[in-house]
C-alpha cells in the first residue's frame, strides 16, 4: 500500500511537471522537447556569410514550418550564405545554442526566442565578439542597441485587415459567430481585438464568441449548437484555418450554404495551402495571414540592399479574398502542402 502511494505520488509529480511544462511554453507543441542538433549546410563556399539561426522547431505549427523553410531557402549556399540552425522550444537550450554559435564565430545571429527574457548576457557577448544580431518573429526584452533590427508581425494589424475587409463587403447586417484560438496567445489577442471593437460600436452583432482553443472538432460543436438554437448568423470568423474547417463541416451537415455565393461568409487565418484552395473553389470567403516570411527582409538588410529606418520592422501582412485569389498566390504564400 505504501509502495502504491509512493508510485502515485511520483506519478502526480511527473504529471504536474509535464503539465507545468505545457503551461509555460506559449507553443502548443510542448510535447516536443526534442531539440534538433545544429547542422551546417554542405560545402560552405569560402567567403560565405556565416549565419546562425536560433528558432523554434518546425513541428510547432504550420507557421513555424514555413518560417524554417523560408530561412533555409533564403540563407542558402547559392545565395552566398553558410547556415547553421538550432531548433528548440526551450529558452535555456536556445541560449546555449546562441552562445555556441558566437563561439564558433558566425557573422550574424538570427533569433526567434522561446521566451522574451534572459537574453541580455548572450547578446552582450555577441556584441563583444562582433556578431550582429537580428530578431525575427518575436521580440526580446533587451536594450535596442543590442540588436540591429527586429522583423516582427503586428498581430493587431492582421485582425484589422480582416475586419476592414469584412466591413467592405457591405452586408445588410453582420451576425457573427466568433471562434477564438487559445485565449491569451498573441494570435488570438490580435485577431480578436479588431472584431471586439466592431461588437462594441454596434456595427456587428455578436451571436456567439467562444474559444475552441485551436481545436477543429470543438469549433464544429460550437457552430452546431448555434444552428440547433435556431439563431440567425451570416458570418463565421474563425481565428485559424482548422477551426474554420470545423465550422464549415457543421454548416455542410445542416445544409447551410457558405462561401462566395452562399448565405454565410467564412473567414479563416493562417493561409494554409488547403485553405487557400477552399477560397479558390469559392467555398470560403477570406483568409488572413500572419506572414512567416522574414528571411528576405533580413537578407536584404545584411547585404546592404536596404537599410532599416527603424529598429522594429513590421512585416507586411496579407489577406486573400476568394474573388481575387489566384493559383499563383496559393503557390507563393500558402503554408504546408
Amino acid at each position: 500500500m505504501k509502495k502504491l502511494g509512493a508510485l502515485l505520488l511520483a506519478g502526480t509529480l511527473m504529471m504536474s511537471f509535464v503539465l507545468g511544462g505545457c503551461g509555460s511554453s506559449s507553443a502548443p507543441a510542448s510535447s516536443d522537447s526534442g531539440a534538433k542538433e545544429s547542422k551546417a549546410t554542405e560545402a560552405p563556399a569560402s567567403g560565405a556569410i556565416k549565419v546562425g539561426v536560433v528558432n523554434n522547431p518546425p513541428s510547432e505549427s504550420g507557421y513555424r514550418e514555413a518560417n524554417v523553410k523560408d530561412m533555409e531557402s533564403v540563407f542558402s549556399a547559392d545565395n552566398g550564405y553558410e547556415l547553421k540552425t538550432f531548433y528548440s522550444l526551450k529558452n535555456d537550450e536556445q541560449l546555449q545554442a546562441a552562445q555556441g554559435f558566437i563561439t564558433e564565430g558566425v557573422d550574424y545571429l538570427l533569433i526567434s526566442a522561446a521566451e522574451t527574457t534572459g537574453w541580455d548576457d548572450v547578446l552582450k557577448s555577441a556584441e563583444e565578439a562582433g556578431v550582429k544580431v537580428y530578431l525575427f518573429d518575436r521580440m526580446i526584452d533587451v536594450d535596442e542597441s543590442l540588436y540591429e533590427a527586429a522583423v516582427v508581425s503586428d498581430m493587431s494589424a492582421e485582425g484589422k485587415l480582416a475586419v476592414d475587409w469584412l466591413l467592405a463587403q457591405n452586408l445588410p447586417e453582420y451576425n457573427v459567430i466568433h471562434i477564438q484560438g487559445a485565449m491569451g496567445s498573441d494570435a488570438q489577442i490580435g485577431r480578436t481585438g479588431a472584431l471586439d471593437e466592431q461588437f462594441a460600436s454596434g456595427k456587428m452583432t455578436k451571436v456567439v464568441q467562444q474559444t475552441a482553443t485551436w481545436d477543429e472538432a470543438e469549433a464544429k460543436k460550437i457552430v452546431e449548437s448555434v444552428i440547433n438554437s435556431g439563431e440567425k448568423f451570416n458570418v463565421i470568423y474563425a481565428e485559424n484555418d482548422g477551426m474554420a474547417k470545423g465550422a464549415v463541416a457543421a454548416l455542410d451537415e445542416a445544409g447551410i450554404t457558405h462561401g462566395v455565393d452562399g448565405d454565410v461568409v467564412v473567414m479563416g487565418f493562417d493561409c494554409n495551402k488547403w485553405a487557400l484552395r477552399e477560397l479558390l473553389a469559392g467555398k470560403w470567403n477570406y483568409d488572413g495571414q500572419c506572414s512567416p516570411f522574414q528571411a528576405q527582409v533580413i537578407s536584404d538588410l545584411i547585404k546592404g540592399n536596404k537599410t532599416a529606418s527603424e529598429k522594429k520592422i513590421i512585416n507586411e501582412e496579407k489577406g486573400f479574398d476568394a474573388k481575387t485569389i489566384t493559383q499563383e498566390d496559393i503557390d507563393t504564400y500558402g503554408l504546408g502542402e
Partner: protein
C-alpha cells in the same frame, strides 16, 4: 411506487444507478430550461441528403469517439486497476498513420480507406502492446507506463506526416465522418453501435469478461486458477489500441484533416471520467461497458448543454468539473452506504406508523 424506488437505490440498476440518474437529471434540467433543446428535425445537408439534426443528434454524434475509447478503457481499468492516459496521443498517431496511407496512394478508393484503417489498427495495437508490456510484464503502474506515450505521442504523430495539418478529402471519408447518402443517422453513431455489438458478442462467446474481472479482483487467485494474468492484461491494452484506432479514424474523417496537436485533445481525462461515471471501479474488478457508454454521453450532453446556454467555453471546464464532483461524490461508497442506511431507518420508522394507521 415506494417499492420501486427502494429497489433502485438498493441495487435495482446496480452500478448503472449513477449514470442513469445523471442523464435523467440533465434531461430534466434541459426540459425546464428550454424544451426545444430536444427537438429533432430533418434537414437537407449540402450534399442533398435528408439527415437528422438537433441537439440530441449532436450529443450522440460528437460523443462517438469518447464512447468507443471508453469501452476499451473500461476493459483496461477492470483488468489492470489503472488507466491508460495516452489514448489521445495514440489516437493522433493512429490518425496520422491513416492519413499517411491515404496520401501515399494516388486516388482514394474504398480499398485504400480499408488499407489505411487496417494500418492504423496495426500501429495502434503495437503502441497498445508497448503500454501493455510495461504494465503486464514489467508491472509498472498503468498511469506511469502510459505517461511515456502521453508525453511523446503527439511528436511521433507529427513525424509520421511531417506537416502541421495534412488534409485528405474524398466522398468516402465524408461518408464515414458525417453521413452516408440515404442514411439519416450520423455514421459515427452507427460505428459506436457496431463496436458495442462486437464487444457484446466477444463477451458472449468467450470468457474474456469473466477472466478480466477475476484478474482485476484478485490477480494471484486468478493465476492460481490457471488464468494467464499477463496475457489478459496485455490483451486489454491491445483491444484498447483497436478502439483508439477507430476513434482516431473517426476524428480524421469528420474534418478530412489531421492536426496532431488538437485531434482528440484531453480526451484521456474525459475517457477516464466516462468510465468512472459509468459506475465502474477505477481500482479494477467488476465492470459494465454499458455504464461507460452512458458515461460518455453524460459528459457530452453536459458540454452541449453548456454551449446551448452560451456559457463561455473557457468556463465550460469549470462547470463540468462541478457537476462531475457532485456525480462522483454521490457515487462514492461512503455516500452510498450512508444513503442506504438512511433509507433503511426511514423504512423502519414508517412501518409502525402505517401499522397504527391501519388499526
Amino acid at each position: 411506487m415506494k417499492k420501486k424506488s427502494k429497489s433502485i437505490f438498493q441495487g435495482g440498476l446496480g452500478q448503472l444507478t449513477i449514470p442513469v440518474i445523471a442523464i435523467a437529471l440533465l434531461v430534466l434540467f434541459n426540459l425546464i430550461r428550454d424544451p426545444s433543446f430536444f427537438s429533432i428535425g430533418i434537414t437537407h445537408n449540402n450534399d442533398g441528403n435528408a439527415v437528422l439534426a438537433g441537439n440530441l443528434i449532436s450529443i450522440v454524434n460528437s460523443a462517438s469517439e469518447l464512447a468507443v475509447l471508453a469501452m476499451g478503457m473500461t476493459l483496461v481499468t477492470a483488468a489492470c486497476g489503472g488507466q491508460d492516459i495516452s489514448v489521445g496521443a495514440a489516437a493522433a498517431i493512429a490518425g496520422s498513420t491513416f492519413v499517411k496511407v491515404l496520401k501515399s496512394g494516388g486516388s482514394i478508393s474504398g480499398l485504400t480507406v480499408l488499407a489505411a484503417f487496417l494500418m492504423a489498427c496495426v500501429v495502434a495495437m503495437l503502441f497498445g502492446t508497448f503500454n501493455g508490456t510495461l504494465v503486464a510484464v514489467f508491472k509498472i503502474q498503468p498511469m506511469i507506463a502510459t505517461l511515456i506515450l502521453y508525453t511523446c505521442g503527439r511528436s511521433i504523430a507529427y513525424w509520421i506526416n511531417g506537416g502541421a495539418t495534412p488534409t485528405v478529402s474524398s466522398p468516402i471519408l465524408t461518408g464515414i465522418g458525417s453521413f452516408i447518402p440515404g442514411i439519416p443517422i450520423p455514421t459515427p453513431v452507427i460505428i459506436v453501435v457496431v463496436v458495442a455489438v462486437i464487444f457484446r458478442l466477444v463477451f458472449h462467446f468467450t470468457s474474456l469478461e469473466l477472466f478480466t474481472q477475476s484478474v482485476g479482483i484478485n490477480g494471484s487467485a486468478a493465476r492460481l486458477n490457471g488464468i494467464n494474468v499477463t496475457g489478459i492484461k496485455l490483451l486489454s491494452f491491445i483491444i484498447l489500441g483497436l478502439c483508439v484506432a477507430v476513434a482516431g479514424c473517426i476524428g480524421v474523417c469528420r474534418l478530412g484533416l489531421i492536426n496532431h496537436e488538437t485531434l482528440l485533445l484531453d480526451v484521456e481525462m474525459d475517457t477516464i471520467l466516462a468510465v468512472a461515471i459509468g459506475g465502474n471501479s477505477l481500482g479494477g474488478g467488476k465492470f459494465r461497458i454499458s455504464g461507460s457508454i452512458i458515461g460518455a454521453y453524460v459528459i457530452q450532453m453536459l458540454t452541449i448543454t453548456l454551449y446551448a446556454m452560451k456559457v463561455s467555453s473557457t468556463d465550460v471546464k469549470a462547470y463540468k468539473a462541478i457537476v462531475i464532483i457532485i456525480l462522483v461524490v454521490i457515487g462514492s461508497p461512503v455516500v452510498k452506504s450512508r444513503f442506504e442506511k438512511m433509507m433503511r431507518q426511514r423504512q423502519e420508522r414508517k412501518v409502525p406508523v402505517t401499522a397504527k394507521g391501519a388499526k
